[in-house]
Symmetry: C2
Subunit: 581 residues, 2 copies
C-alpha cells in the first residue's frame, strides 16, 4: 500500500492521453451482450449479496485466471490466438460525453485512490469504480497503483490487458465519464510508449507477447546449433528493455562493509574474465503442453524457451570477496538479491535472488556477464551487465543488472515471492499459498524433440526415422542418457549425445556438478513394419539419475511451470511405393 501514500502525486504521474479517436464497432455489441449476462454491480456488504459477491468472485477468478498480475507475469492462453498484433492496437471505446452517466473531473477521480475512499480508475475517457474488483484481481493489490488515475500507463506495459474479455469485465464497473477538460489534461501528460525503444528482433522468432517482448526460435532450428546464435536465443522480458548508457552505468552493491558503485570498465578491468557455456531455460518452457491438460496462467511457450550460449564476465564471488565479503557478512547473509534496471511506471525494478551458497561457492560459477557468444550483451539479453546463474531457472539470471544486495532475506519482488513456484495439481487460485512453496532455483531434468515436427510426414521407404532434440538438467547435473521411443513409450532406444557443433571437437566432460550446458541428441530408429502413424517420445536422465515424469496431469500446476513430462510428437509415415507395386 506504500504506493498509495500520496494520492495527489500519483494522480499527476498518471495523467495520460486518453486515446479516444478510434471506435471499434465489434466490441460494443459484445459488451452489451455481456452486460446482460453479468449480474448488476454489487455495492452493499450484507446477506445474500455477500453470497452473490462470492459467486462473482469465483466467476472472476475463473474469467481472469489468465489475467496479468500487472507485474510482468503475462497471460497467454492463446484464447485469442494470432491476435498479438491486434492487442497492441486495441479496440478503443468511445468517449461517452453523450452518455447519461455522471460526468467527473480528473480531480474527483484522484480523490478515489484507496480502498477507504474507493478505487476509481479511468480508461479512454470513462470512469470506473473498481473498489470491489481489487480483491479478485489475479495480480493482487498491484492494481491499486492505478487508483485515482488512468489505466493506460499500466496496460501499455502489459499489452495482455488489451483483450476483449478484460474490457468486458471492466465495463461492469463503469460509473461515469471524464469531462472534456480532464481528457485534455490526460492527453497533455502523455508519456512516450515505454516500448518505443525496443531493439530490432530476428524475424524467425515466434512471438508469444510483444509488450513485454517474449519469443522463442522455431524448434526446428533450435537444435541446429550447439551454441544458440544470440539473435534467436529465446527472449523473456518482464518489462520494457531499458537503454543503458555504458559511460554512466553503475553497478551498486549493498550488504558489504562499504558502499560499492562500480563502473563498467572497473568491472571489466578489476576482475579476471571467465567464460562458460550455460544453458538458460524459462520456468515456463513447454507450458503449452501442460495447458492442454487444463488451462494455466502464463505465456504459452512451446519447446524452445531454452537456449545455450557462451557467457563471459567477472565471477560474482570474486567481486563480492574483493569488496569485503567475509565471515562477518557470511554470518548474517543467506541470499544475494539482484535488481534490474528494467522498471515499471512506478519505478519498481525486476528483481530476484539466489541462495548465498550458490553465489559464493567456488563451484557455483555465477557470472556478472558482459559478453554473450563473444560480443557485448545484446540489448534483449541485459546490456551492459546481467547475472548468469548456471543451472538455475532463467528468472534468477537478472538482466540489465543495477544492484546487488547481500542479505538475510530473499528478494521481496513479486517474481521471487508470488511467481515462479511449483504447486500440487490439487492447488488452484482459490487455495494457493505462495509462501508454502520454495522459489524455483535449480530446474529438473528436461528434454524435447526438435525434429521431426508434430504432424510431419516421413518417407516410409527409407525404413527409419531420424529424431533430434535437446536435453538439459538444472543444478549442474549432466545429462547421461536420452531414451527415445517411436511406439509411444513401449520400447526405448538410446540416443547419441553431443556436446558441440558437429564441426567442432566435443567439449571435454564437465567436472561433477558443473554440467551447465545442454546436450543435443540424435538417433535413427527403424520404422515399425508398415506403420502409418508413430508417436515419438523422448525422456532424459541426469547424473543424479533423475528421470522425467511420464505425463502432464500429475505435474500440472496453476502457473504452468516445470513442465517437463515426456515430450511426444505424432508423425505420419508415407506409403512405401515399392510395397504398392
Amino acid at each position: 500500500m506504500q504506493h498509495l501514500r500520496h494520492c495527489q502525486g500519483f494522480a499527476q504521474v498518471f495523467l495520460i492521453r486518453s486515446q479516444s479517436s478510434k471506435l471499434s464497432k465489434s466490441v460494443i455489441p459484445s459488451l452489451s451482450v455481456w452486460g446482460g449476462h453479468l449480474s448488476s454491480r454489487w455495492r452493499s456488504t450484507g446477506g445474500h449479496e455477500k453470497q452473490e459477491y462470492n459467486e462473482r468472485r469465483q466467476k472472476f477468478r475463473f474469467a481472469l485466471a489468465g489475467l496479468l498480475a500487472g507485474t510482468g507475469a503475462v497471460l497467454a492462453y492463446k484464447l485469442h490466438q494470432g491476435k498479438v498484433e491486434r492487442a497492441t492496437t486495441p479496440a478503443n471505446l468511445p468517449v461517452a460525453q453523450t452518455s447519461s452517466l455522471p460526468v467527473y473531473t480528473l480531480e474527483e477521480v484522484t480523490k478515489h485512490c484507496s480502498l477507504d475512499n474507493g478505487v476509481w480508475v479511468t480508461h479512454k475517457g470513462e470512469v470506473y469504480d473498481i473498489t470491489e474488483f481489487v480483491a479478485v484481481h489475479p495480480g493482487g493489490d498491484k492494481i491499486l497503483l492505478a487508483a485515482g488515475g488512468a489505466l493506460e500507463p499500466y496496460w501499455a506495459l502489459y499489452a495482455v490487458h488489451e483483450q476483449d474479455h478484460v474490457l468486458e469485465i471492466l465495463s461492469e464497473y463503469k460509473i461515469g465519464v471524464l469531462n472534456t477538460e480532464s481528457i485534455k489534461k490526460q492527453e497533455s501528460a502523455n508519456p512516450s510508449d515505454p516500448y518505443s525503444a525496443e531493439p530490432t528482433r530476428h524475424p524467425a522468432l515466434q512471438i508469444n507477447s510483444l509488450k513485454p517482448f517474449n519469443a522463442e526460435p522455431p524448434a526446428s532450428i533450435l537444435s541446429d546449433n550447439y551454441i544458440t546464435p544470440s539473435a534467436i536465443f529465446f527472449k523473456r522480458n518482464h518489462l520494457p528493455v531499458p537503454r543503458v548508457d555504458p559511460e554512466t552505468y553503475r553497478l551498486n552493491i549493498e550488504g558489504l562493509p562499504g558502499v560499492v558503485s562500480l563502473t563498467l570498465s572497473e568491472l571489466k578491468s578489476r576482475f579476471p574474465k571467465h567464460t562458460i557455456t550455460v544453458t538458460l531455460q524459462c520456468a515456463g518452457n513447454r507450458r503449452s503442453e501442460m495447458n492442454k491438460v487444463k488451462q494455466v496462467k502464463g505465456l504459452n511457450w512451446g519447446v524452445a524457451a531454452i537456449s545455450n550460449a557462451t557467457w563471459s564476465g567477472a565471477r560474482l564471488r570474486d567481486v563480492l570477496l574483493y569488496y569485503g565479503f567475509g565471515p562477518e557478512v557470511a554470518a548474517k547473509a543467506q541470499h544475494v538479491q539482484f535488481e534490474g534496471l528494467d522498471r515499471d511506471v512506478t519505478g519498481t525494478a525486476y528483481g530476484a535472488s539466489i541462495p548465498l551458497n550458490k553465489a559464493m561457492s567456488d563451484e557455483g560459477d555465477v557470472l556478472l556477464a558482459y559478453e554473450m557468444n563473444g560480443e557485448d550483451l545484446p540489448a534483449d539479453h541485459g546490456y551492459p551487465v546481467r547475472v548468469v546463474v548456471p543451472g538455475v531457472v532463467g528468472a534468477r539470471n537478472v538482466k540489465w543488472l543495477g544492484k546487488i544486495v547481500v542479505s538475510d532475506e530473499e528478494s521481496k519482488s513479486h517474481w521471487q515471492q508470488n511467481d515462479y513456484k511449483g504447486f500440487s495439481p490439487g492447488t488452484d487460485w482459490d487455495t494457493v499459498d505462495f509462501k508454502s512453496a520454495p522459489a524455483i532455483q535449480e530446474l529438473p531434468i528436461q528434454s524435447a524433440i526438435t525434429h521431426p515436427a508434430e504432424g510431419a510426414t516421413v518417407d516410409g521407404s527409407v525404413g527409419e526415422v531420424t529424431v533430434k532434440g535437446y536435453a538439459w538438467s538444472g543444478g549442474g547435473r549432466e545429462v547421461v542418457r536420452v531414451d527415445v521411443s517411436v511406439d509411444g513409450g513401449n520400447t526405448w532406444h538410446v540416443a547419441k549425445l553431443r556436446t558441440s557443433d558437429n564441426s567442432q571437437d566435443p567439449a571435454s566432460p564437465p567436472p561433477p556438478g558443473k554440467a551447465w550446458a545442454w546436450k543435443l541428441w540424435e538417433i535413427d530408429i527403424p520404422l515399425p513394419y508398415r506403420s502409418q502413424e508413430l508417436e515419438i517420445v523422448c525422456k532424459a536422465v541426469d547424473s543424479s539419475y533423475n528421470m522425467q515424469p511420464d505425463t502432464f496431469a500429475p505435474i500440472w500446476n496453476l502457473r504452468g511451470v516445470l513442465s517437463n513430462a515426456w515430450h511426444r510428437v505424432k508423425i505420419k509415415v508415407s506409403q512405401d511405393l515399392k510395397d504398392q507395386k
Copy 2:
C-alpha cells in the same frame, strides 16, 4: 586375470572340505529331468555347434539372469520365495565314487586353472569342466577365482548359489569325481564358515539374504521413528561382517604426500567431532516393484531399504587437509576411493569411490563416522569406522573402512565399475556396456507409503483414511512436497511433512543443498463416497522440483536399481454398518 597368476597357490587356498554327508533325494530326479532337456555338452568350435553354443549362451543368460556375480551382487528373484533358510543348508549331492565317470586326483584338478588349460572346479567331491561356461557366467570372470579348486569357499560367501537351478546347470558340466584321498585333503583344509561370527540381529528384520546378511525393517514400523533405531536400520552387507579389534585398527590413507596410518583414538582425538543426521538408501530400494514389470537381478527389497540415523565422526575433509591435501594433490586427483575390511576369500575388499569435490567440499559433510545414534557403530554398520556420504547411494558409504586413496581414478571395484549403474529399459544382459553409464552417486527423489499396508482394510465408517510414509532425495535436495492420492492418481492432496519425532521440536530447515535427512509425512484423506477399494498413491517433489516418474516400465533396468516410480498401495474399505441399518 591377475588372480590366476599362481595356480598352485590358489589350489592350496581352495582346498576345502567337501560336504558329502547329506543326500537330498528331491534334487536327483530334478537333475535327471533337466539332463534330458539340456543339450549335451559342446566342445568343438565350428559350424552348427557354434550356433548351438550361441543358443545355449542365450539360454544360460536367461536361466542365470539372476545368478550371482560371485562378487556381492546377490540374486533374489524370489524364484524360491521363503527358501532363504533352506538355501543355507543346501540340498547335497552324492559323492559319486560309484559313478562310471573318470576318477581324478586333486593334483590333476589344480592343473586346470586357466582358460588355456581348461577350467575345472570341484563341488562335493565331483569334478566339473566349466571352461565353456566362463563366458556366460553372469558374474564375469570372477568365476575363474575358483579355477582348479573347490567351489565351496565361494558358495559359502554367496549362499545364493545354493539353489536347485544352479546345481542343475552345474551338473551339465560334470566330467568325473575326486578320489577318496583328494576329498580327505579338501576336508582337512576346511576353513571356518566366514559367516560364523556374524552379529545377532533384531528379530523384526525381514531377511532378503542371510549370507551376506541383507534385511530391512517392516515398512509398518519404519516410519514410527524419525531417527531409525540402529537395530532395525536396514542392513546391506556385500560380504561377511569383519570383526575388527579397535586396538589394532588402522586407517591407511594413500595419495597424499606422506604415508598415513591412523589409529582409532587418533581419529577421535585429532579432529573435531561432527554430528549430522543422514538418510541412507540402497540403490535397490523398492526393487520388488520393478521386478513385477520384468525380472531384474538383485535383492528383492521392499520399500524399507532406507533408514535415517545420526552419525558422528571426523570430517573426511579435515582429515585429508591435515595430512597434506593441497593444490598439488588436487591438481591430479579426481576421486576418493574407499576400501572396506570386509573381504572375500581371495582377499578382495569391498570398495567404492566418490568424486573429489564431494569429499573436499566444505558443504559435502562427508564423515569418517565412528558413532551411530550416539553409540559406537554396530558391527553391521561398519564398526569401528565407516564413511557416511550424505545424499549419496548407500553403496558408496563404505563400512569397516580400512583404506582411503586419493586418486585420479574411480575405484576399480566391481561395485563401482560393473554394478550400481542405471540403464535404459531397452538394455539387457546381452547388450549392456557398463562403461557407458556413470556410477550411481546422488540418488533421485523417492517416497513410499508405509501405512496402510497393501491389502489392508480400513473402517469405512470413520470417513477418512490416514496415510503415512517417507520421502527423501539425494544430493542434499530437500523434500518440499508430497502429493497423495486415494483414487489412483487422479486427484491429489498435499501431505503434512515432519522433520523430527512427534515428541521433539522440528529440526530447523537445512541450508540449501544440505538436506541430508528424509521427511516423514502423514495425511488424513476423506474416503470417496461408498468406495469399497482404494488405490493410494504417493509422489514427492524435491527442492530442484524433481518429480518421481509415474510408472515402472519406462525406468526398468536390468539391475533393478533407481526404482522410484510412484508408490501404489491398494486397500479395502469395510462396509459402513450405519449405512446398512
